[in-house]
Symmetry: C2
Subunit: 268 residues, 2 copies
Protein backbone atom coordinates (compact mmCIF):
# COMPACT_ATOMS: atom_id res chain seq x y z
CA UNK A 1 0.00 0.00 0.00
CA UNK A 2 1.36 3.47 -0.86
CA UNK A 3 1.84 6.20 1.73
CA UNK A 4 -1.44 7.60 3.02
CA UNK A 5 -1.86 11.20 4.21
CA UNK A 6 -4.94 12.40 6.11
CA UNK A 7 -5.70 16.13 5.62
CA UNK A 8 -7.38 16.86 8.87
CA UNK A 9 -8.62 19.74 11.01
CA UNK A 10 -11.87 19.70 12.97
CA UNK A 11 -12.16 23.44 12.44
CA UNK A 12 -14.26 24.39 9.46
CA UNK A 13 -13.31 26.39 6.43
CA UNK A 14 -9.54 26.29 6.97
CA UNK A 15 -8.48 24.97 3.55
CA UNK A 16 -8.64 21.17 3.84
CA UNK A 17 -10.53 20.52 0.60
CA UNK A 18 -8.73 23.23 -1.38
CA UNK A 19 -5.42 21.69 -0.28
CA UNK A 20 -6.55 18.09 -0.88
CA UNK A 21 -7.64 18.82 -4.45
CA UNK A 22 -4.78 21.10 -5.51
CA UNK A 23 -2.02 19.12 -3.81
CA UNK A 24 -3.41 15.95 -5.41
CA UNK A 25 -3.54 17.66 -8.81
CA UNK A 26 -0.01 19.06 -8.38
CA UNK A 27 1.41 15.65 -7.43
CA UNK A 28 -0.36 14.09 -10.42
CA UNK A 29 1.27 16.70 -12.67
CA UNK A 30 4.65 15.71 -11.19
CA UNK A 31 3.97 12.18 -12.45
CA UNK A 32 2.77 10.59 -9.20
CA UNK A 33 -0.31 8.38 -9.40
CA UNK A 34 -2.62 9.89 -6.81
CA UNK A 35 -5.76 8.56 -5.11
CA UNK A 36 -7.84 11.33 -3.53
CA UNK A 37 -10.48 10.20 -1.04
CA UNK A 38 -13.37 12.56 -0.30
CA UNK A 39 -14.35 11.58 3.24
CA UNK A 40 -16.67 14.54 3.81
CA UNK A 41 -20.48 14.35 3.42
CA UNK A 42 -20.32 17.94 2.14
CA UNK A 43 -18.50 16.39 -0.90
CA UNK A 44 -16.59 19.61 -1.66
CA UNK A 45 -13.57 17.81 -3.12
CA UNK A 46 -15.90 15.83 -5.41
CA UNK A 47 -17.64 19.04 -6.53
CA UNK A 48 -14.30 20.79 -6.89
CA UNK A 49 -13.05 18.20 -9.39
CA UNK A 50 -16.28 18.35 -11.35
CA UNK A 51 -17.15 14.69 -10.70
CA UNK A 52 -20.88 13.94 -10.85
CA UNK A 53 -22.25 11.14 -8.70
CA UNK A 54 -25.07 9.47 -10.65
CA UNK A 55 -28.41 9.15 -8.89
CA UNK A 56 -28.79 5.49 -9.89
CA UNK A 57 -25.96 4.27 -7.69
CA UNK A 58 -23.71 3.46 -10.64
CA UNK A 59 -20.93 5.76 -9.40
CA UNK A 60 -18.78 4.18 -6.68
CA UNK A 61 -18.60 6.35 -3.56
CA UNK A 62 -16.73 6.34 -0.26
CA UNK A 63 -20.08 5.40 1.28
CA UNK A 64 -20.06 2.10 -0.67
CA UNK A 65 -16.41 1.66 0.24
CA UNK A 66 -17.10 1.95 3.97
CA UNK A 67 -20.02 -0.47 3.84
CA UNK A 68 -18.29 -3.00 1.55
CA UNK A 69 -14.52 -2.34 1.60
CA UNK A 70 -13.51 -5.35 -0.51
CA UNK A 71 -15.39 -4.13 -3.58
CA UNK A 72 -14.34 -0.48 -3.24
CA UNK A 73 -13.86 1.27 -6.58
CA UNK A 74 -12.83 4.73 -7.76
CA UNK A 75 -13.46 7.24 -10.55
CA UNK A 76 -10.81 8.75 -12.88
CA UNK A 77 -10.52 12.50 -12.24
CA UNK A 78 -7.65 13.47 -14.54
CA UNK A 79 -4.27 12.18 -15.67
CA UNK A 80 -2.62 10.25 -12.82
CA UNK A 81 -5.56 11.14 -10.57
CA UNK A 82 -8.35 8.95 -9.15
CA UNK A 83 -11.12 10.05 -6.84
CA UNK A 84 -13.18 8.11 -4.33
CA UNK A 85 -16.18 10.48 -4.42
CA UNK A 86 -18.44 11.48 -1.59
CA UNK A 87 -22.14 12.28 -1.57
CA UNK A 88 -24.69 13.28 1.04
CA UNK A 89 -25.56 9.65 2.01
CA UNK A 90 -22.24 9.71 3.78
CA UNK A 91 -23.72 11.76 6.61
CA UNK A 92 -25.78 8.74 7.64
CA UNK A 93 -22.89 6.30 7.67
CA UNK A 94 -21.71 7.25 11.15
CA UNK A 95 -25.01 6.04 12.56
CA UNK A 96 -25.06 3.01 10.26
CA UNK A 97 -21.60 1.87 11.31
CA UNK A 98 -21.89 2.90 14.96
CA UNK A 99 -22.05 -0.67 16.21
CA UNK A 100 -20.31 -2.39 13.31
CA UNK A 101 -17.38 -4.74 13.55
CA UNK A 102 -14.05 -3.01 12.95
CA UNK A 103 -15.80 0.27 12.28
CA UNK A 104 -12.60 2.32 12.47
CA UNK A 105 -10.78 0.17 9.94
CA UNK A 106 -13.20 0.15 7.02
CA UNK A 107 -11.44 2.87 5.07
CA UNK A 108 -8.06 1.20 5.50
CA UNK A 109 -9.46 -2.04 4.05
CA UNK A 110 -11.02 -0.15 1.16
CA UNK A 111 -7.72 1.60 0.35
CA UNK A 112 -5.94 -1.77 0.35
CA UNK A 113 -8.53 -3.19 -2.06
CA UNK A 114 -8.31 -0.17 -4.37
CA UNK A 115 -4.49 -0.24 -4.43
CA UNK A 116 -4.44 -3.95 -5.22
CA UNK A 117 -6.50 -3.19 -8.33
CA UNK A 118 -4.28 -0.45 -9.78
CA UNK A 119 -0.85 1.09 -9.14
CA UNK A 120 -1.09 4.12 -6.84
CA UNK A 121 1.88 6.11 -5.50
CA UNK A 122 0.19 8.26 -2.86
CA UNK A 123 -3.20 8.54 -1.14
CA UNK A 124 -4.65 11.84 0.17
CA UNK A 125 -7.75 11.83 2.39
CA UNK A 126 -9.92 14.97 2.68
CA UNK A 127 -11.48 14.77 6.16
CA UNK A 128 -14.70 16.48 7.31
CA UNK A 129 -14.56 19.27 9.93
CA UNK A 130 -15.21 17.01 12.90
CA UNK A 131 -13.61 14.37 15.12
CA UNK A 132 -16.28 11.70 14.48
CA UNK A 133 -16.27 8.21 12.99
CA UNK A 134 -15.43 9.41 9.45
CA UNK A 135 -12.33 11.32 10.56
CA UNK A 136 -11.36 8.40 12.80
CA UNK A 137 -11.48 6.14 9.74
CA UNK A 138 -9.27 8.66 7.97
CA UNK A 139 -6.73 8.67 10.80
CA UNK A 140 -6.82 4.89 11.23
CA UNK A 141 -6.07 4.52 7.51
CA UNK A 142 -3.21 7.03 7.45
CA UNK A 143 0.56 6.95 7.81
CA UNK A 144 0.81 10.71 8.32
CA UNK A 145 -1.46 13.60 9.24
CA UNK A 146 -1.22 16.96 7.47
CA UNK A 147 -3.02 19.84 9.19
CA UNK A 148 -4.27 22.69 6.98
CA UNK A 149 -4.81 25.78 9.12
CA UNK A 150 -4.77 29.57 9.04
CA UNK A 151 -2.12 31.66 10.75
CA UNK A 152 -4.76 33.30 12.97
CA UNK A 153 -4.68 33.68 16.74
CA UNK A 154 -7.92 31.74 17.20
CA UNK A 155 -6.70 28.89 14.97
CA UNK A 156 -4.04 27.95 17.53
CA UNK A 157 -6.71 27.06 20.07
CA UNK A 158 -8.07 24.10 18.17
CA UNK A 159 -4.75 22.47 17.38
CA UNK A 160 -4.20 21.08 20.89
CA UNK A 161 -7.44 19.09 20.78
CA UNK A 162 -6.66 17.88 17.28
CA UNK A 163 -3.24 16.57 18.31
CA UNK A 164 -4.78 14.87 21.34
CA UNK A 165 -7.13 12.98 19.02
CA UNK A 166 -4.20 11.95 16.85
CA UNK A 167 -2.38 10.70 19.94
CA UNK A 168 -5.43 8.66 21.06
CA UNK A 169 -5.80 7.09 17.63
CA UNK A 170 -2.09 6.34 17.52
CA UNK A 171 -2.29 4.65 20.92
CA UNK A 172 -5.47 2.68 20.35
CA UNK A 173 -5.69 2.00 16.65
CA UNK A 174 -2.58 2.90 14.63
CA UNK A 175 0.74 3.15 16.50
CA UNK A 176 2.69 4.19 13.40
CA UNK A 177 0.59 7.35 12.90
CA UNK A 178 2.71 10.51 12.66
CA UNK A 179 1.97 14.18 12.12
CA UNK A 180 3.94 15.40 9.10
CA UNK A 181 3.10 19.02 9.79
CA UNK A 182 0.95 22.03 9.05
CA UNK A 183 0.00 23.65 5.74
CA UNK A 184 -0.63 27.37 6.22
CA UNK A 185 -3.66 28.26 4.10
CA UNK A 186 -5.11 31.64 3.14
CA UNK A 187 -1.76 33.06 4.27
CA UNK A 188 -1.63 36.82 4.63
CA UNK A 189 1.90 38.19 4.69
CA UNK A 190 0.66 41.64 5.66
CA UNK A 191 -1.23 40.68 8.80
CA UNK A 192 0.61 41.83 11.91
CA UNK A 193 0.09 38.63 13.85
CA UNK A 194 0.91 36.17 11.05
CA UNK A 195 4.60 35.92 11.87
CA UNK A 196 3.80 35.61 15.55
CA UNK A 197 1.38 32.73 15.00
CA UNK A 198 3.82 30.95 12.67
CA UNK A 199 6.50 31.40 15.33
CA UNK A 200 4.19 29.89 17.96
CA UNK A 201 3.54 26.83 15.80
CA UNK A 202 7.24 26.35 15.08
CA UNK A 203 8.16 26.74 18.75
CA UNK A 204 5.52 24.20 19.72
CA UNK A 205 6.89 21.62 17.29
CA UNK A 206 10.49 22.36 18.29
CA UNK A 207 9.65 21.60 21.92
CA UNK A 208 8.00 18.33 20.89
CA UNK A 209 11.13 17.07 19.15
CA UNK A 210 12.09 13.57 20.30
CA UNK A 211 9.40 13.57 22.96
CA UNK A 212 7.87 10.37 21.63
CA UNK A 213 4.67 12.07 20.51
CA UNK A 214 3.19 11.62 17.01
CA UNK A 215 4.11 15.24 16.16
CA UNK A 216 7.72 15.00 17.26
CA UNK A 217 8.92 15.42 13.67
CA UNK A 218 6.19 17.82 12.59
CA UNK A 219 6.94 21.19 11.06
CA UNK A 220 5.37 23.99 9.10
CA UNK A 221 5.31 22.67 5.52
CA UNK A 222 6.62 25.06 2.91
CA UNK A 223 5.53 27.30 1.28
CA UNK A 224 2.45 28.80 2.90
CA UNK A 225 -0.47 29.03 0.46
CA UNK A 226 -1.25 32.70 -0.04
CA UNK A 227 -4.81 33.93 -0.13
CA UNK A 228 -5.67 34.02 -3.84
CA UNK A 229 -9.12 34.63 -5.29
CA UNK A 230 -8.50 32.12 -8.08
CA UNK A 231 -8.37 29.26 -5.56
CA UNK A 232 -11.91 30.12 -4.42
CA UNK A 233 -13.16 30.46 -8.00
CA UNK A 234 -11.82 27.18 -9.40
CA UNK A 235 -14.40 24.90 -7.65
CA UNK A 236 -17.31 26.57 -9.41
CA UNK A 237 -15.77 25.45 -12.71
CA UNK A 238 -15.08 21.91 -11.48
CA UNK A 239 -11.35 22.39 -12.00
CA UNK A 240 -8.12 22.33 -10.04
CA UNK A 241 -6.18 25.60 -10.00
CA UNK A 242 -3.83 24.16 -12.63
CA UNK A 243 -6.62 23.89 -15.19
CA UNK A 244 -8.47 27.03 -14.13
CA UNK A 245 -5.67 29.55 -13.61
CA UNK A 246 -2.22 27.94 -14.06
CA UNK A 247 -0.42 31.31 -13.82
CA UNK A 248 -2.07 32.31 -10.56
CA UNK A 249 -0.18 32.64 -7.29
CA UNK A 250 -2.32 29.81 -5.90
CA UNK A 251 -1.07 27.47 -8.64
CA UNK A 252 2.57 28.41 -7.97
CA UNK A 253 2.15 27.90 -4.22
CA UNK A 254 0.51 24.47 -4.48
CA UNK A 255 3.04 23.36 -7.11
CA UNK A 256 5.88 24.36 -4.79
CA UNK A 257 4.20 22.63 -1.83
CA UNK A 258 3.87 19.47 -3.92
CA UNK A 259 7.59 19.50 -4.78
CA UNK A 260 8.46 19.69 -1.07
CA UNK A 261 5.81 17.09 -0.36
CA UNK A 262 7.71 14.58 -2.53
CA UNK A 263 10.35 14.57 0.17
CA UNK A 264 7.71 13.32 2.62
CA UNK A 265 6.84 10.49 0.23
CA UNK A 266 10.41 9.34 0.01
CA UNK A 267 12.37 10.29 3.12
CA UNK A 268 15.33 8.35 1.68
CA UNK B 1 -38.05 39.66 26.65
CA UNK B 2 -36.15 41.67 24.01
CA UNK B 3 -35.71 40.48 20.43
CA UNK B 4 -33.33 37.51 20.14
CA UNK B 5 -31.14 36.86 17.08
CA UNK B 6 -29.31 33.55 16.53
CA UNK B 7 -26.14 33.91 14.40
CA UNK B 8 -26.05 30.51 12.86
CA UNK B 9 -24.28 28.50 10.16
CA UNK B 10 -23.21 24.88 10.55
CA UNK B 11 -20.27 25.56 8.24
CA UNK B 12 -17.08 26.46 10.07
CA UNK B 13 -15.00 29.58 9.82
CA UNK B 14 -17.56 31.71 7.98
CA UNK B 15 -17.61 34.73 10.30
CA UNK B 16 -20.22 33.89 12.96
CA UNK B 17 -18.12 34.88 15.98
CA UNK B 18 -16.52 37.89 14.30
CA UNK B 19 -20.03 39.12 13.40
CA UNK B 20 -21.51 38.30 16.82
CA UNK B 21 -18.81 40.26 18.66
CA UNK B 22 -18.55 43.26 16.36
CA UNK B 23 -22.27 43.62 15.69
CA UNK B 24 -22.89 43.43 19.45
CA UNK B 25 -20.19 46.04 20.08
CA UNK B 26 -21.56 48.30 17.31
CA UNK B 27 -25.12 48.10 18.65
CA UNK B 28 -23.82 48.87 22.16
CA UNK B 29 -22.08 51.97 20.78
CA UNK B 30 -25.40 53.04 19.23
CA UNK B 31 -26.85 53.00 22.75
CA UNK B 32 -28.59 49.62 22.68
CA UNK B 33 -28.14 47.40 25.74
CA UNK B 34 -26.85 44.16 24.26
CA UNK B 35 -26.59 40.64 25.66
CA UNK B 36 -24.16 38.46 23.69
CA UNK B 37 -24.40 34.72 24.34
CA UNK B 38 -21.39 32.56 23.49
CA UNK B 39 -22.99 29.20 22.73
CA UNK B 40 -19.84 27.61 21.28
CA UNK B 41 -17.53 25.29 23.27
CA UNK B 42 -14.66 26.84 21.30
CA UNK B 43 -15.49 30.05 23.22
CA UNK B 44 -14.13 32.32 20.48
CA UNK B 45 -16.54 35.19 21.26
CA UNK B 46 -15.48 35.00 24.93
CA UNK B 47 -11.79 35.08 23.96
CA UNK B 48 -12.45 37.83 21.43
CA UNK B 49 -13.89 40.12 24.10
CA UNK B 50 -10.99 39.41 26.44
CA UNK B 51 -13.22 37.86 29.12
CA UNK B 52 -11.43 35.37 31.37
CA UNK B 53 -13.41 32.51 32.86
CA UNK B 54 -12.02 31.78 36.33
CA UNK B 55 -10.98 28.22 37.07
CA UNK B 56 -12.79 28.21 40.43
CA UNK B 57 -16.27 28.35 38.90
CA UNK B 58 -16.89 31.90 40.10
CA UNK B 59 -17.54 33.18 36.56
CA UNK B 60 -21.07 32.43 35.32
CA UNK B 61 -21.06 30.59 32.00
CA UNK B 62 -23.59 29.44 29.43
CA UNK B 63 -22.89 25.94 30.74
CA UNK B 64 -24.29 26.91 34.15
CA UNK B 65 -27.17 28.66 32.42
CA UNK B 66 -28.17 25.51 30.51
CA UNK B 67 -27.99 23.31 33.60
CA UNK B 68 -29.75 25.80 35.91
CA UNK B 69 -31.58 28.39 33.79
CA UNK B 70 -33.31 30.21 36.64
CA UNK B 71 -30.06 31.34 38.21
CA UNK B 72 -28.36 32.29 34.94
CA UNK B 73 -26.03 35.28 35.25
CA UNK B 74 -23.81 37.29 32.93
CA UNK B 75 -20.54 39.24 32.86
CA UNK B 76 -20.12 42.92 31.88
CA UNK B 77 -18.03 43.15 28.68
CA UNK B 78 -18.11 46.87 27.96
CA UNK B 79 -20.51 49.80 28.04
CA UNK B 80 -24.04 48.60 27.22
CA UNK B 81 -22.65 45.10 26.62
CA UNK B 82 -23.05 41.89 28.65
CA UNK B 83 -21.64 38.50 27.82
CA UNK B 84 -22.78 35.01 28.78
CA UNK B 85 -19.33 33.39 28.41
CA UNK B 86 -18.53 29.94 27.15
CA UNK B 87 -15.79 27.54 28.15
CA UNK B 88 -14.69 24.06 27.14
CA UNK B 89 -17.04 22.28 29.63
CA UNK B 90 -19.76 23.24 27.20
CA UNK B 91 -18.70 20.46 24.84
CA UNK B 92 -19.97 17.92 27.39
CA UNK B 93 -23.36 19.51 27.88
CA UNK B 94 -24.92 17.91 24.80
CA UNK B 95 -24.35 14.49 26.36
CA UNK B 96 -25.39 15.71 29.81
CA UNK B 97 -28.68 17.14 28.58
CA UNK B 98 -29.39 14.42 26.01
CA UNK B 99 -32.24 12.94 28.00
CA UNK B 100 -33.19 15.97 30.06
CA UNK B 101 -36.64 17.45 30.36
CA UNK B 102 -37.19 20.37 27.99
CA UNK B 103 -33.64 20.09 26.72
CA UNK B 104 -34.27 22.41 23.75
CA UNK B 105 -35.72 25.17 25.88
CA UNK B 106 -33.03 25.66 28.51
CA UNK B 107 -31.41 28.65 26.81
CA UNK B 108 -34.75 30.38 26.33
CA UNK B 109 -35.48 30.05 30.06
CA UNK B 110 -32.01 31.37 30.90
CA UNK B 111 -32.48 34.41 28.64
CA UNK B 112 -35.82 35.15 30.31
CA UNK B 113 -34.19 34.96 33.76
CA UNK B 114 -31.28 37.20 32.71
CA UNK B 115 -33.59 39.80 31.14
CA UNK B 116 -35.79 39.90 34.24
CA UNK B 117 -32.71 40.88 36.25
CA UNK B 118 -31.56 43.80 34.09
CA UNK B 119 -32.87 45.88 31.14
CA UNK B 120 -31.66 44.45 27.81
CA UNK B 121 -32.66 45.72 24.35
CA UNK B 122 -31.33 42.96 22.09
CA UNK B 123 -29.84 39.47 22.44
CA UNK B 124 -27.32 38.00 19.97
CA UNK B 125 -26.42 34.29 20.15
CA UNK B 126 -23.12 33.04 18.64
CA UNK B 127 -23.82 29.43 17.60
CA UNK B 128 -21.24 26.65 17.13
CA UNK B 129 -20.56 25.22 13.64
CA UNK B 130 -22.98 22.32 13.99
CA UNK B 131 -26.67 21.44 14.04
CA UNK B 132 -26.58 19.74 17.46
CA UNK B 133 -28.31 20.35 20.78
CA UNK B 134 -26.50 23.65 21.45
CA UNK B 135 -27.54 25.19 18.12
CA UNK B 136 -31.05 23.81 18.61
CA UNK B 137 -31.17 25.66 21.93
CA UNK B 138 -30.04 28.78 20.11
CA UNK B 139 -32.78 28.42 17.49
CA UNK B 140 -35.46 27.54 20.05
CA UNK B 141 -34.56 30.70 21.97
CA UNK B 142 -34.57 33.02 18.96
CA UNK B 143 -37.03 35.27 17.20
CA UNK B 144 -34.87 35.60 14.09
CA UNK B 145 -31.95 33.79 12.48
CA UNK B 146 -29.07 35.68 10.87
CA UNK B 147 -26.79 33.60 8.63
CA UNK B 148 -23.17 34.76 8.31
CA UNK B 149 -21.68 33.26 5.14
CA UNK B 150 -19.11 33.86 2.43
CA UNK B 151 -20.04 34.69 -1.16
CA UNK B 152 -18.31 31.52 -2.42
CA UNK B 153 -19.71 28.88 -4.75
CA UNK B 154 -19.27 26.10 -2.17
CA UNK B 155 -20.96 28.15 0.57
CA UNK B 156 -24.30 27.97 -1.26
CA UNK B 157 -24.39 24.19 -0.83
CA UNK B 158 -24.74 24.27 2.93
CA UNK B 159 -27.50 26.85 3.09
CA UNK B 160 -30.28 24.48 1.98
CA UNK B 161 -29.64 22.10 4.88
CA UNK B 162 -29.41 25.02 7.29
CA UNK B 163 -32.79 26.39 6.23
CA UNK B 164 -34.32 22.93 6.48
CA UNK B 165 -33.18 22.76 10.12
CA UNK B 166 -34.70 26.18 10.76
CA UNK B 167 -37.97 24.99 9.24
CA UNK B 168 -38.00 21.85 11.42
CA UNK B 169 -37.35 23.88 14.55
CA UNK B 170 -40.04 26.35 13.58
CA UNK B 171 -42.52 23.52 13.06
CA UNK B 172 -41.70 21.53 16.18
CA UNK B 173 -40.44 23.97 18.75
CA UNK B 174 -40.82 27.67 17.82
CA UNK B 175 -43.45 28.57 15.22
CA UNK B 176 -42.59 32.28 15.29
CA UNK B 177 -38.98 31.66 14.17
CA UNK B 178 -38.01 33.68 11.10
CA UNK B 179 -34.85 34.08 9.04
CA UNK B 180 -33.91 37.76 8.91
CA UNK B 181 -31.27 37.19 6.28
CA UNK B 182 -27.64 36.68 5.43
CA UNK B 183 -24.54 38.68 6.42
CA UNK B 184 -21.86 38.40 3.73
CA UNK B 185 -18.53 38.01 5.53
CA UNK B 186 -14.98 38.21 4.22
CA UNK B 187 -16.50 39.83 1.13
CA UNK B 188 -14.21 40.16 -1.85
CA UNK B 189 -15.43 42.68 -4.40
CA UNK B 190 -12.79 41.60 -6.89
CA UNK B 191 -13.67 37.91 -7.05
CA UNK B 192 -15.32 37.07 -10.36
CA UNK B 193 -18.00 34.88 -8.86
CA UNK B 194 -18.94 37.12 -5.92
CA UNK B 195 -21.69 38.98 -7.75
CA UNK B 196 -23.00 35.72 -9.17
CA UNK B 197 -23.24 34.09 -5.73
CA UNK B 198 -24.90 37.19 -4.25
CA UNK B 199 -27.36 37.13 -7.16
CA UNK B 200 -28.12 33.45 -6.47
CA UNK B 201 -28.87 34.18 -2.82
CA UNK B 202 -31.10 37.13 -3.67
CA UNK B 203 -32.97 35.14 -6.31
CA UNK B 204 -33.51 32.31 -3.84
CA UNK B 205 -35.02 34.65 -1.27
CA UNK B 206 -37.11 36.43 -3.88
CA UNK B 207 -38.70 33.14 -4.92
CA UNK B 208 -39.46 32.34 -1.28
CA UNK B 209 -41.47 35.54 -0.80
CA UNK B 210 -44.88 34.86 0.72
CA UNK B 211 -44.39 31.10 0.46
CA UNK B 212 -45.07 30.62 4.16
CA UNK B 213 -41.52 29.52 4.91
CA UNK B 214 -39.43 31.01 7.75
CA UNK B 215 -37.18 32.72 5.17
CA UNK B 216 -39.98 34.33 3.18
CA UNK B 217 -38.88 37.80 4.30
CA UNK B 218 -35.15 37.08 4.31
CA UNK B 219 -32.67 39.15 2.37
CA UNK B 220 -28.99 39.90 2.06
CA UNK B 221 -28.29 42.28 4.95
CA UNK B 222 -26.33 45.39 4.05
CA UNK B 223 -23.48 46.16 3.76
CA UNK B 224 -21.32 43.08 3.14
CA UNK B 225 -18.35 42.92 5.53
CA UNK B 226 -15.20 43.24 3.49
CA UNK B 227 -12.21 41.06 4.17
CA UNK B 228 -10.02 43.19 6.46
CA UNK B 229 -6.91 42.00 8.30
CA UNK B 230 -7.76 44.13 11.34
CA UNK B 231 -10.87 42.00 12.01
CA UNK B 232 -8.66 38.89 12.30
CA UNK B 233 -6.14 40.70 14.51
CA UNK B 234 -8.56 42.18 17.06
CA UNK B 235 -9.30 38.88 18.89
CA UNK B 236 -5.66 38.41 19.88
CA UNK B 237 -5.93 41.69 21.79
CA UNK B 238 -9.25 40.78 23.41
CA UNK B 239 -10.94 43.75 21.73
CA UNK B 240 -13.76 44.49 19.34
CA UNK B 241 -12.75 46.21 16.10
CA UNK B 242 -13.99 49.52 17.54
CA UNK B 243 -11.41 49.46 20.32
CA UNK B 244 -8.62 47.86 18.28
CA UNK B 245 -8.84 49.73 14.93
CA UNK B 246 -11.78 52.15 14.87
CA UNK B 247 -10.71 53.64 11.51
CA UNK B 248 -10.44 50.28 9.75
CA UNK B 249 -12.77 49.23 6.94
CA UNK B 250 -13.98 46.39 9.18
CA UNK B 251 -15.13 48.92 11.80
CA UNK B 252 -16.98 50.99 9.20
CA UNK B 253 -18.68 47.93 7.74
CA UNK B 254 -19.89 46.54 11.08
CA UNK B 255 -21.03 50.02 12.19
CA UNK B 256 -23.06 50.38 9.00
CA UNK B 257 -24.49 46.87 9.40
CA UNK B 258 -25.52 47.74 12.96
CA UNK B 259 -27.38 50.87 11.80
CA UNK B 260 -29.36 48.78 9.30
CA UNK B 261 -29.83 46.13 11.94
CA UNK B 262 -31.73 48.65 14.10
CA UNK B 263 -34.48 48.46 11.51
CA UNK B 264 -34.79 44.73 12.24
CA UNK B 265 -35.16 45.50 15.94
CA UNK B 266 -38.02 47.91 15.35
CA UNK B 267 -39.87 47.06 12.16
CA UNK B 268 -42.35 49.83 13.01
N1 LIG C 1 -5.67 30.24 -0.36
C1 LIG C 1 -6.96 30.55 -0.53
N2 LIG C 1 -7.29 31.74 -1.07
C2 LIG C 1 -8.58 32.09 -1.25
N3 LIG C 1 -9.64 31.33 -0.90
C3 LIG C 1 -9.38 30.12 -0.36
C4 LIG C 1 -8.04 29.65 -0.16
N4 LIG C 1 -8.10 28.41 0.39
C5 LIG C 1 -9.41 28.12 0.52
N5 LIG C 1 -10.19 29.15 0.07
C6 LIG C 1 -11.66 29.22 0.07
O1 LIG C 1 -12.07 29.24 1.45
C7 LIG C 1 -13.24 28.42 1.63
C8 LIG C 1 -12.91 27.30 2.63
O2 LIG C 1 -11.90 26.47 2.08
P1 LIG C 1 -12.03 24.86 2.10
O3 LIG C 1 -13.38 24.42 1.60
O4 LIG C 1 -10.86 24.31 1.40
O5 LIG C 1 -11.91 24.59 3.67
P2 LIG C 1 -12.24 23.24 4.44
O6 LIG C 1 -11.35 23.21 5.62
O7 LIG C 1 -12.19 22.07 3.53
O8 LIG C 1 -13.75 23.49 4.88
P3 LIG C 1 -14.71 22.39 5.54
O9 LIG C 1 -14.32 22.39 6.98
O10 LIG C 1 -16.08 22.94 5.31
O11 LIG C 1 -14.44 21.09 4.88
C9 LIG C 1 -13.61 27.89 0.25
O12 LIG C 1 -14.61 28.75 -0.30
C10 LIG C 1 -12.31 28.00 -0.54
O13 LIG C 1 -12.55 28.17 -1.93
N1 LIG D 1 -14.09 40.19 7.36
C1 LIG D 1 -13.02 39.50 7.78
N2 LIG D 1 -11.78 39.82 7.36
C2 LIG D 1 -10.70 39.12 7.74
N3 LIG D 1 -10.73 38.06 8.57
C3 LIG D 1 -11.92 37.68 9.04
C4 LIG D 1 -13.14 38.37 8.69
N4 LIG D 1 -14.17 37.76 9.33
C5 LIG D 1 -13.63 36.75 10.04
N5 LIG D 1 -12.27 36.68 9.87
C6 LIG D 1 -11.35 35.69 10.44
O1 LIG D 1 -11.69 34.43 9.88
C7 LIG D 1 -11.62 33.39 10.89
C8 LIG D 1 -12.98 32.74 11.03
O2 LIG D 1 -13.91 33.70 11.48
P1 LIG D 1 -14.93 33.39 12.69
O3 LIG D 1 -14.22 32.78 13.85
O4 LIG D 1 -15.72 34.63 12.95
O5 LIG D 1 -15.87 32.30 11.99
P2 LIG D 1 -16.91 31.34 12.71
O6 LIG D 1 -17.99 31.07 11.71
O7 LIG D 1 -17.34 31.87 14.03
O8 LIG D 1 -16.04 30.05 12.94
P3 LIG D 1 -16.47 28.76 13.79
O9 LIG D 1 -17.33 27.96 12.87
O10 LIG D 1 -15.18 28.07 14.13
O11 LIG D 1 -17.23 29.24 15.00
C9 LIG D 1 -11.14 34.09 12.17
O12 LIG D 1 -9.74 33.92 12.28
C10 LIG D 1 -11.51 35.54 11.95
O13 LIG D 1 -10.66 36.41 12.67
MG1 LIG E 1 -13.58 20.59 3.19
MG1 LIG F 1 -17.37 30.97 15.89
Amino acid sequence: VPKVFALMNQKGGVGKSTTAVNLAAALARLGKRVLLIDLDPQAHATLHLGVAVEGDGSTPTVYDALLEPNTADVVPAGENLWLLPSETDLAGVEAELAQAEGRHHRLRLAIEAICRARPIDVVLIDCPPSLGLLTLNGLAAADEVVIPMQAHFLALHGVGKLLETVRLVAQQVRPSLKVAGVVLCMYDQQASHTQEVVGDIEAFFAEARDRGVPWQRARVLWPPIRRNIKLAEAPSFGQSIFEYAPQAAGARDYAALARHFLALLDPS
